[in-house]
C-alpha cells in the first residue's frame, strides 16, 4: 500500500493499493502525474496518482518477505525535468522504461557490476545515471550512449544505499550501510557524451580543472563519434594526459589529507582500486600508480597486494594527539594529561604515588605533544613549527640542585617522533632516523641511527626498546622491527632488528616493559606478547584482551604489566580504543593466559599454568644476571609451584595410563621431585615407569655431578662418593655432633673418594656406602649421626672393610642388577606385590643400615617398639635377604624398611592404633621418618650414582620440597600420610636437636 499525502496541510490523502508485500522504494514522476514503486513482492508498479490506479506493473524482482531480506533496495528514479525515462535497478543492470508507453527502451550494464544494483540516481541534467551496488561499486552511465562513464569502488566495500547528485552535476554524495557518508568528486561527466577516461580527481576544488578538461574532452569526444574502438584509442591517448593530471591531483590530494585528517572520508573513493588499507591517507600515497593504470575505462582493476600505510609514531600509553583533552602518558608512575582547548593549553602531571612527587600543572606554551614520565623526571617534546625548532624539555624533579629543568633544541628540520625515559637517561627518536640519548640531567650522550622510521620507544631501567618500520607492509600488515638495547655498565644490543610479530592486519598499540623489566607489547587485535628470554628472545602471546571484552567495539587500553604478581593493568573502554580523560577511568586487572590448546581440560589447564609460571619467572634469571637483587623467596616459591604442577600433571597422566607422558614430564622435573615421582609410580604399581624414572633420576644426578665435576665419570664419581661417604661416616662417628656442615661432608667425601679410588674393595664398598651415605645426606638434619654411627659401626668396625666390603660388593652388584630385588625386598615390606620396583627402597635399607637420617632414632626407637609389626615385613624380606648382603646391617635395616613399608600400607591401622599407644609420638615420628627415609632412599638411590656429597647442602631444601611434593601426592594417594608429614618432620627436628 502506498499513500500519497499532501504535505502542506495533509488534507488530501490518496492510497494506492496493490502491493502484496512491503514496499521497497517509491519515486515521483517530476510532473507529478505518476508514481513508481517497487515492492518485496517482486513487482515494480507505476501508478497514476490522480486516479489511484495502477498504470503498469513489471514482475522484475525476486520475491522476498521482508525489506531486510531483499537483495536490492531497488531505488527507482525518474529522469529529471521531463521525466521521460524511469530507471529501475534490476539485478546487476538498470532498466530504462519510457514514460507513457512504459516499454523498456534500454538497459544499462557493466561487466564489472557483479552484484545487484541498489540505487539509481539521475544527474540533474538527466544525461547521466549513477547506480550504487551492493559491494560498494558506483557506476555512472551516459544514458544516451549506454556507456559507462565512470566507475568507482567504495574503498571499504560497503554497500551503497543512497546516492545524491550535486545540483551542479560534478559531485555525488553517497552513504553506505555502515553509516559512512562519502563524496565522489571530480566527475568529468558534465560535458557531452564523451566516454573517454574520466579522470578521477579526488576532492578539493577541481572545478576549474574540470571545465578545461571537459571542454577538451568534449572536442575530442565529439569528433570521435561513438565507435567504441576509436574511443578506446582515444582513451589511450587521453590516458597519458589524464595520468599527469591525475598524478598531480594525487599529490595535492595527499597534501590536503595530511593537512586535515578529519577530511579523510571525502575523496576517499579512488579510481579502480579494489583494495584499500584501513587508513585513508595511506591510500592517497600509495594509489598513484594503480589509479593511473585504472584510469582507462574497462581496464582491469589492479587487485594485487596493496602497500599498507605505515602506522605513525606514537607514545605508548597516550591517546590520540588530535583530542583536546587527552592522556599524553599513563604509565606505572603516573599520568600526564594534556588540555588544549580555547581557554587553556596546559599539561597536568599526576603521580599514582604521591610520595614520588606532588602533582604538577604546567602551561603548555610550546605545544608539547609527547610526554613520558618516570620516577625521576618528566620529558616533554613538541614538533617543530615554521619558525621554531622541535624542542625537548625535561622537568627533572628529582634533581637535588635548584635547577630542575632543561631544554634542548633539535637541529633544524629534525622532529621528535618518539621519546622515553629510563633510569638516568632519556632517549629521543627523531624524524632524521636518529636515536639521541641524553642523561637525565641534560648531558648529551650516545647517538645512533635507526634502521627505519620509529614507531615507538619504551624504556625501563637500563633497557631501551625501539620499534621501527622495517619495511613496507602489504595488505594491512605492518612490517615492524624491534631493537632492544641495554645501557649501563656493559652496553649491548640484546635484540638487533628482529621483526616484531603482529597479528594479521593489526598494528602496534602499546609497547613497554613489565615492572620486572621484560619487554612486552600489545597489537590492535588486543594480543599481548611478552619477550621470552629463555627461548632465544622470542615473543610469546600471554594474553588476549579482546577475549574478555563483552562487545566487539570494546577494548582494553593497556597501561602496564606486572610479572609478579601476574597482572595486566589496563583500562576498559566501552566502544572505543582509548579512554576519555573524564570521568577518570579506573584501572582494571586482567590475568595472563597462554593460548595453549584445550585449556578447559584439567591437563590443558595445568600445562598452561606450568608454562605461564615458567615464562613469568624468567625474569629472575635475567635480573640476577644483570646484577639486580632478586626476591629469593618469590623465586623458590615459583620453583615450588612449578614442580608441584609438574607433579600434578605427572599424577594425572599416571591416572590416564600415559606412562610415556609421565616420563616426559619427569624430564622437566628437578631431581628430588623425580624421586617423588618414582615413589608415586611405585606406589601406584607402575614398575616399568618407576624404572624409567630411575634412569632419568640417574641422568639428572649425573648431570648435576658433571656440572660440578665435569672430569669424572658419573658412575665412578658416584662410587667414590659413596666410598667417601663410608669413610665420612667414621668421621661422622668421631664427630658425633649432630650438625655437621654439609661443606665439611663434601670435603670429606671428596677426599675420601680420592683415597678410595685406589682400592677396589673400597670402591665396591663405596656403592654400598653410597646407599647408606645417601640416606644420611637427606637426613642431613643432623639427627642421623647417631644412627649412622651405629650402622657404620656395625659394618665397618664389626667387619673389616674388605670382608664386609666384599659381601657388600656382592650386594651392591646385586643392587646394580637386582637392586630391584633388594628394593622389592625392602619395598616388598612396604609393597609386597611390587617385587622389582623400587630401587630407591633398596638403597633405603642400606641407608637405614647406615642409619643415615632419622632412621636410627626413628627406626630403632620406633622399630623396637613396633618390632612386632615389622617382623612380618622382615619375614617377607628374609627371602631376599639370603641373597642380600651383610646380615647385620641388612637385618637391622630390613626390618626397619619392612616396618616402614608395612606402615605405609597399613597406615590406617597404625593410625588407628596410635591413639591407643602411649608412644604415639614415637610412632608418628617413626612413620614420618619412614617417609623421609623412603624419600631419602630414593635420593640415596639416585645419589648412589652420583655419590655427591655436594647434594647434602640441598638436602634440607629437598626435604621441604619433598614434603610439599608429598603433600601434593597425598592428595592423590594418601591423605593421611600428608597429615602425618608435618608432625613427622617436626619430630625429626626434635630428634636432631637431641
Amino acid at each position: 500500500m502506498v499513500k500519497v499525502v499532501e504535505v502542506s496541510d495533509s488534507s488530501q490523502q490518496k492510497t494506492l493499493r496493490g502491493h502484496e508485500a512491503p514496499v521497497l522504494s517509491v519515486t515521483f514522476d517530476p510532473k507529478d502525474e505518476y508514481l513508481a514503486s517497487s515492492s518485496c513482492d517482486g513487482s515494480v508498479v507505476v501508478w497514476n496518482i490522480e486516479d489511484q490506479t495502477r498504470v503498469t506493473s513489471w514482475p522484475l524482482l525476486q520475491k522476498t518477505n521482508d525489506v531486510s531480506n531483499a537483495a536490492s533496495l531497488c531505488r527507482l528514479a525518474f529522469q529529471p525535468a521531463a521525466g521521460k525515462l524511469l530507471a529501475v535497478p534490476v539485478e546487476t543492470r538498470v532498466h530504462l522504461y519510457e514514460r507513457g508507453s512504459w516499454d523498456q527502451v534500454g538497459s544499462l550494464s557493466d561487466e564489472l557490476l557483479t552484484q545487484p544494483v541498489n540505487v539509481a540516481a539521475w544527474s540533474p541534467c538527466g544525461r547521466f545515471l549513477a547506480a550504487g551496488a551492493v559491494g560498494g561499486l558506483l557506476t555512472i552511465w551516459d544514458v544516451n550512449s549506454r556507456l559507462v562513464v565512470e566507475r568507482q569502488k567504495h574503498e571499504k566495500g560497503f554497500t551503497v544505499c543512497s546516492l545524491a547528485w550535486h545540483p551542479s552535476g560534478s559531485q555525488i554524495a553517497y552513504t553506505d550501510t555502515e553509516g559512512c557518508l562519502g563524496l565522489l568528486d571530480g566527475l568529468g561527466t558534465s560535458g557531452t557524451g564523451s566516454t573517454t577516461a574520466p579522470a578521477a580527481k579526488p576532492a578539493k576544488g577541481y572545478d576549474d580543472l574540470f571545465d578545461e578538461d571537459d571542454d577538451r574532452l568534449m572536442d575530442e569526444g565529439l569528433s570521435d563519434a561513438n565507435s567504441p574502438v576509436k574511443k578506446a584509442a582515444v582513451a589511450e591517448d587521453e590516458d597519458d594526459d589524464d595520468f599527469l593530471i591525475a598524478s598531480t591531483g594525487r599529490v595535492r590530494n595527499r597534501g590536503a589529507i595530511l593537512d586535515d585528517e578529519n577530511s579523510l572520508d571525502t575523496g576517499s573513493l579512488k579510481l579502480g582500486q579494489d583494495k584499500f588499507g584501513e587508513d585513508d591517507d595511506d591510500d592517497a600515497g600509495s594509489s598513484v600508480a594503480p589509479a593511473a593504470a585504472a584510469a582507462a575505462p574497462l581496464r582491469p582493476v589492479y587487485d594485487g597486494p596493496v602497500p599498507t600505510p605505515p602506522q605513525k609514531a606514537f607514545q605508548p600509553g597516550s591517546t590520540p594527539a588530535h583530542l583536546t583533552h587527552r592522556f599524553m602518558m599513563w604509565n606505572s608512575v603516573g599520568i600526564v594529561r594534556g588540555y588544549n582547548d580555547e581557554q587553556d593549553n596546559a599539561i597536568d602531571v599526576e603521580f599514582h604515588d604521591t610520595a614520588v612527587h606532588h602533582a604538577m600543572h604546567l602551561t603548555n606554551s610550546l605545544g608539547h605533544t609527547m610526554a613520558d614520565l618516570s620516577q625521576e623526571a618528566v620529558l616533554l617534546a613538541c614538533p617543530s613549527t615554521d619558525d621554531l625548532a622541535s624542542k625537548l624539555q625535561c622537568l627533572h624533579f628529582s634533581s637535588w640542585d635548584t635547577n630542575k629543568e632543561w631544554m634542548v633544541d633539535l637541529p633544524q628540520g629534525e622532529d621528535v617522533k618518539a621519546l622515553c625515559l629510563g633510569q638516568g637517561w632519556a632517549a629521543v627518536a627523531t624524524s632524521a632516523l636518529l636515536l639521541r640519548l641524553f642523561s637525565v640531567g641534560g648531558v648529551q650522550r650516545e647517538i645512533c641511527s635507526l634502521p627505519g622510521p620509529v614507531v615507538c620507544m619504551a624504556g625501563h631501567g637500563e633497557q631501551l626498546l625501539v620499534v621501527y618500520h622495517r619495511a613496507t607492509g602489504f595488505d594491512g600488515e605492518q612490517a615492524l622491527g624491534v631493537q632492544l638495547l641495554q645501557f649501563g655498565r656493559r652496553k649491548r644490543q640484546l635484540m638487533s632488528g628482529e621483526p616484531l610479530p603482529l597479528s594479521p592486519k593489526s598494528y602496534l598499540c602499546w609497547a613497554g616493559f613489565t615492572a620486572e623489566g621484560t619487554a612486552c607489547y600489545v597489537d590492535s587485535n588486543g594480543l599481548v606478547r611478552m619477550l621470552n628470554r629463555a627461548l632465544g628472545n622470542t615473543w610469546t602471546p600471554v594474553c588476549n584482551t579482546r577475549e574478555t571484552c563483552k562487545s566487539k567495539s570494546d577494548h582494553y587500553w593497556v597501561v602496564g604489566a606486572h610479572e609478579n604478581p601476574q597482572q595486566l593493568r589496563c583500562i576498559p573502554c566501552k566502544g572505543s580504543r582509548y579512554p576519555p580523560t573524564l570521568p577518570r577511568p579506573a584501572v582494571a586487572i586482567l590475568p595472563f593466559k597462554l593460548p595453549l590448546c584445550q585449556t578447559s581440560t584439567e591437563k590443558g589447564q595445568m600445562e598452561e599454568q606450568y608454562w605461564r609460571s615458567v615464562l613469568f619467572h624468567n625474569h629472575f634469571s635475567f635480573l640476577s644476571s644483570s646484577g639486580y637483587e632478586v626476591d629469593e623467596a618469590a623465586q623458590t616459591q615459583s620453583d615450588k609451584e612449578q614442580q608441584e604442577l609438574l607433579m600434578k600433571m605427572f599424577a594425572l597422566s599416571c591416572k590416564l595410563e600415559r606412562e610415556f607422558r609421565c616420563v616426559e614430564l619427569a624430564e622437566l622435573m628437578t631431581q628430588n621431585v623425580v624421586t617423588l615421582a618414582i615413589r608415586y609410580a611405585s606406589r601406584s604399581r607402575r614398575m616399568n615407569l618407576a624404572q624409567r624414572l630411575n634412569e632419568i633420576a640417574l641422568e639428572k644426578s649425573t648431570q648435576l655431578q658433571e656440572d660440578e665435576e665435569p672430569e669424572e665419570e658419573p658412575e665412578f664419581s658416584s662410587d667414590r662418593r659413596t666410598s667417601g661417604y663410608r669413610q665420612t661416616e667414621p668421621y661422622n662417628t668421631r664427630q658425633n655432633d649432630e650438625q655437621q656442615e654439609e661443606d665439611e661432608e663434601e670435603c670429606e667425601e671428596e677426599e675420601d673418594g680420592r683415597e678410595m679410588e685406589t682400592e677396589e674393595t673400597k670402591r665396591r664398598l663405596n656403592p654400598f656406602a653410597k646407599e647408606s651415605g645417601l640416606p644420611a645426606k637427606p637426613s642431613l638434619t643432623p639427627v642421623g649421626r647417631v644412627g649412622r654411627s651405629n650402622p657404620f659401626k656395625v659394618a665397618d668396625s664389626g667387619k673389616p672393610t674388605s670382608s664386609s666390603g666384599q659381601a657388600r660388593v656382592s650386594n651392591i652388584l646385586d643392587n646394580m642388577r637386582s637392586s630391584r630385588k633388594l628394593a622389592p625386598l625392602s619395598g616388598s615390606a612396604g609393597k609386597p606385590s611390587k617385587g622389582p620396583v623400587l630401587k630407591p627402597l633398596a638403597p633405603r635399607t642400606k641407608a637405614k643400615a647406615q642409619s643415615t637420617l632419622l632412621q636410627i632414632s626413628s627406626n630403632k626407637t620406633a622399630n623396637k617398639k613396633t618390632l612386632e609389626a615389622a617382623e612380618p615385613a622382615a619375614d617377607l624380606q628374609k627371602q631376599p635377604d639370603t641373597a642380600a648382603p651383610p646380615a647385620e646391617n641388612t637385618e637391622n635395616k630390613r626390618p626397619k624398611t619392612g616396618f616402614q613399608l608395612w606402615l605405609d600400607e597399613n597406615r590406617k591401622i597404625i593410625i588407628a592404633d596410635n591413639p591407643d599407644l602411649d608412644e604415639t609420638d614415637v610412632i608418628k615420628e617413626a612413620m614420618g621418618r619412614f617417609r623421609t627415609l623412603s624419600a631419602d632412599e630414593r635420593l640415596l638411590w639416585t645419589e648412589r650414582a652420583k655419590g655427591q656429597s655436594g647434594e647434602t647442602a640441598d638436602v634440607k631444601k629437598r626435604k621441604r620440597a619433598e614434603n610439599e611434593a608429598v603433600e601434593s601426592d597425598e592428595s592423590n594417594a594418601r591423605k593421611k600420610m600428608s597429615s602425618l608429614d608435618p608432625s613427622s618432620k617436626l619430630s625429626a627436628f626434635a630428634f636432631s636437636k637431641n
Binding site: H352, D353, T354, A355, R569, P583, A586, I589
Partner: protein, 186 residues
C-alpha cells in the same frame, strides 16, 4: 539502636579505593587489607576509606549501585511496586551519606545521587509507615516485610514497639485493668 550505631555497622562494608601510596598488606583483626599499590584499586572497609580520604591518601570509587541511571531505575521500581524492592545495598542510606559527605569530589553527579537516594528512602519509609498503619489498624498478630534494611527497621522500631506497647496496655487495661480498678474501688 541508635542511627549512629547502624552507621557504625555500615562502616564495615567494603568499598574500592585507589590509593596514592604504596603499602604492603596490613593485618587487622577484621582481616587482611591490601596490598596497596598506587593507582590500583583495593578493597577496604568504609571507615578506612574515609580515613584515608580525609588524609588525602586515596580516591574512593563509588560502589556500583551508586550510579544515577541505576538509582533512577530503582526509584521507579520502588514507586511502582507496593512491596519493598530489594535495596541497592543493605546499607545504601548510610553509605550514601558517608561517602557523599566525605568524598563527594570522587563521586560523579553527587547531588543527583543524593536526591535519588533520598527519594528512594522516602518512598520506602512511606511504605513502611503505611504498612505499620494497616498492621495496627487491622490488629494483625504478625506481619512480614521483606527487603528492609537495618536503618529502615531502626527508624520505625522505636516508635512501633512503643506504640504497640502502649496500645497493648490500653487494650488490656480496658478489661482486666478496668476490673482491677473496680476491684480496687471496691
Amino acid at each position: 539502636m541508635d542511627p549512629s550505631e547502624v552507621e557504625f555497622l555500615a562502616e564495615k562494608e567494603f568499598v574500592k579505593i585507589i590509593p596514592n601510596f604504596s603499602l604492603d598488606k596490613i593485618y587487622l583483626i577484621g582481616g587482611d587489607l591490601g596490598p596497596f599499590n598506587p593507582g590500583l584499586s583495593a578493597d577496604v572497609p568504609v571507615w578506612l576509606a574515609l580515613n584515608l580520604k580525609q588524609r588525602q591518601k586515596c580516591r574512593i570509587l563509588p560502589p556500583e549501585w551508586m550510579d544515577v541511571e541505576k538509582l533512577e531505575e530503582m526509584r521507579e521500581l520502588e514507586r511502582k511496586e507496593d512491596a519493598f524492592t530489594p535495596a541497592p545495598s543493605p546499607y545504601y542510606m548510610e553509605l550514601t551519606k558517608l561517602l557523599l559527605n566525605h568524598a563527594s569530589d570522587n563521586i560523579p553527579k553527587a547531588d543527583e545521587i543524593r536526591t535519588l537516594v533520598k527519594d528512594i528512602w522516602d518512598t520506602r519509609v512511606a511504605k513502611l509507615r503505611l504498612s505499620a498503619d494497616s498492621f495496627i489498624r487491622q490488629q494483625e498478630a504478625h506481619a512480614q516485610l521483606d527487603n528492609l534494611t537495618l536503618m529502615e527497621i531502626n527508624t520505625i522500631r522505636e516508635f512501633l514497639l512503643g506504640s504497640l506497647n502502649c496500645m497493648y496496655k490500653l487494650r488490656s487495661n480496658l478489661q482486666p485493668g478496668a476490673t482491677k480498678g473496680q476491684f480496687g474501688d471496691y
